[in-house]
């Protein structure tokens, strides 16, 4: 269980994390979603006591991180796969971490086996590919067999096989009753793994909901219709009790999957249809709408126009 209460981090004027309050429960995978620069990593660093919060509080099973005497058996974290001394072998890297927490040395071989790095255990970490580095980071997180696991963008830069492996790993860890907290900026990835969603944008909490609710609310299906006999079609649908929404252009939209019914009605009344297509709004779209206001770094298709009063302040000075 991770509990955040009004957690805030300011860097000078810039607010990176703004009064975040939510809890991460055991037994499920909780997805932590937000665009780049939303404050996900900063939040995770504060959970781990690496950064000091400007205000607010974060507790792990009721304790502050620095009160944990053997933190690796409480919480295992993969923050940054590169947080390794490249000159040290995978085995020695894990060994020094195990020693610092009094974890039995045999666990090093066990986790190396779990992540499939046994063959390269004595090789220097700087020779590792990105995926191998990610696996080493996950091995470090699993070392203490912790109750809580936290992964920051674990699938970034992995090949499909690695992504598949991480997804299954996270699900099995949660199924054992552990708390699994995983960040991503990809809604599609979260839809496949997470049971619960926490969405932030510009450091603020935008949503804290179960995945099922999020899908129910946002993944709406509808039928898109275009017809040259638009008014007639509207009358017919209205008589039949079908609610129609006018979409952009000359298109109409009907919520739900009623394409067959509409097609039959049109035939019966001899209405010409130019389009009758079932549509599905993706979760990705829903996520982008949710965070559209708060995206930190927009890419511009065209160069931004120069404001009309550009240079006015300079001239006046």
């Amino acid at each position: 269980m991770i509990e955040l209460a009004g957690l805030t981090k300011r860097y000078g004027e810039k607010v990176a994390v703004d009064h975040l309050t939510f809890a991460v429960s055991p037994g499920i995978v909780t997805g932590f979603l937000g665009p780049n620069g939303a404050g996900k990593s900063t939040t995770m660093r504060m959970i781990l006591g690496l950064d000091h919060p400007t205000a607010g509080d974060v507790r792990i099973d009721g304790k502050h991180y620095d009160q944990l005497r053997d933190p690796m058996t409480y919480i295992g974290a993969l923050l940054d796969a590169n947080a390794v001394h490249g000159g040290r072998s995978a085995y020695n890297h894990l060994l020094c971490l195990a020693q610092s927490n009094g974890i039995p040395t045999r666990r090093v071989a066990e986790v190396l086996d779990t992540v499939g790095l046994t063959a390269v255990a004595r090789k220097k970490a700087k020779g590792f590919s990105y995926g191998m580095g990610q696996r080493l980071g996950i091995a470090a997180a699993l070392l203490g067999d912790p109750r809580i696991l936290m992964f920051d963008e674990p699938v970034n830069g992995l090949d499909p096989e690695g992504i598949h492996w991480i997804r299954n790993l996270m699900k099995s860890l949660a199924a054992q009753g552990r708390t699994v907290f995983v960040s991503s900026h990809l809604m599609s990835e979260m839809a496949l793994t997470a049971d619960h969603l926490v969405v932030i944008g510009q450091g603020r909490l935008l949503a804290d909901t179960s995945m099922a609710d999020f899908i129910r609310e946002n993944a709406r299906s509808y039928v898109r219709i275009r017809s040259p006999q638009r008014e007639r079609l509207l009358d017919v649908l209205h008589e039949d009790g079908v609610t129609v929404v006018e979409a952009g252009g000359d298109a109409l939209e009907v919520a739900g999957g009623k394409a067959e019914r509409i097609g039959e009605l049109a035939t019966r009344y001899g209405i010409v249809l130019h389009e009758l297509s079932p549509q599905q709004a993706s979760l990705e779209e829903a996520f982008m709408q949710l965070t559209a206001e708060s995206v930190e770094y927009h890419a511009h298709a065209a160069p931004a126009p120069v404001p009309r009063d550009w240079g006015a302040g300079w001239k006046g000075a």
């Binding site: 055991p26 620095d66 053997d70 020695n92 971490l97 610092s100 552990r178």
Partner: protein, 291 residues
Amino acid sequence: MSTHQPPMPQAPAAAPEWQAAPGGPYPGYNSPIPVVRTHLGHALASEWTKIRSVRSTMWTLGVFILLVVGIGLLAGFAVSGSGDLSGQSPLTLGFFGLLIGMMCIITLGVLTTASEYGTGMIRTTMTACPSRGRVLAAKSIVFFVIAFVVTLVTVSFVAMVHASMLKGHGASTPSGGEWLKATVGISLYIALLGLLSLLVGSIIRHSAGAITIMIGAVLAPLVIALFMNASSLEKVQKALLEYSIPSQMGVFYDNTLSSSGPTGWDPLWIILGVTAAAYAGAYALLQSRDV
């Protein structure tokens, strides 16, 4: 991980053996791994593994031994071949190798802390051991012991070689006090200088920057003093010369660049004070800064 458990919070009665497990009222997975209350000993073991498992340790210490022994033997041969020490102690010849060799100890000291910032390892370290003071203490102790032992063994070896080599070349027989200063004394000094470098590395968080600062601290006073020829600056020049690190090292061999200034064991107390101040500064910064 072999114990598969139902996904949702379990009834506490179902698992009496878990009662001492972490989490108390908080439900969730309970590991079969025994819970250990960690202490400084764990951090020391971890830092020992870290320092022995990177190649830079072997390199810097290897070059250190090579320089101290090599230059020491060369100096010994030069004197035994041609000259006469005219009543000086044979131990003074150990000074030259150490003067260059200390750069290696400075480098290793800086790398012990600063390289973790360069590689990002520090975040892993601080996550594994949230007590930052404990991490700094463990690093300091492990490094200090290694630096002291390696320096003591190397310097003592060179001193014994010099003493036997130069018998009958006009060298005096060094007293017990002279032996102590030229072995244990100078080793403590070098190890403290290395520890100071480690602390500067922790403050600067950048290997190249910290090494530059430390080498500057060693050389700058001498170089600056060379250019202070104005008579009004005579006192400053003298102080810079006397209190420069090479000159203070010479005190352990009664081999100073000047007749006044620190004598006896003074240099050791000076570097002890400076290192203690740097430790306090590094500790305070470590506590207050984000990793």
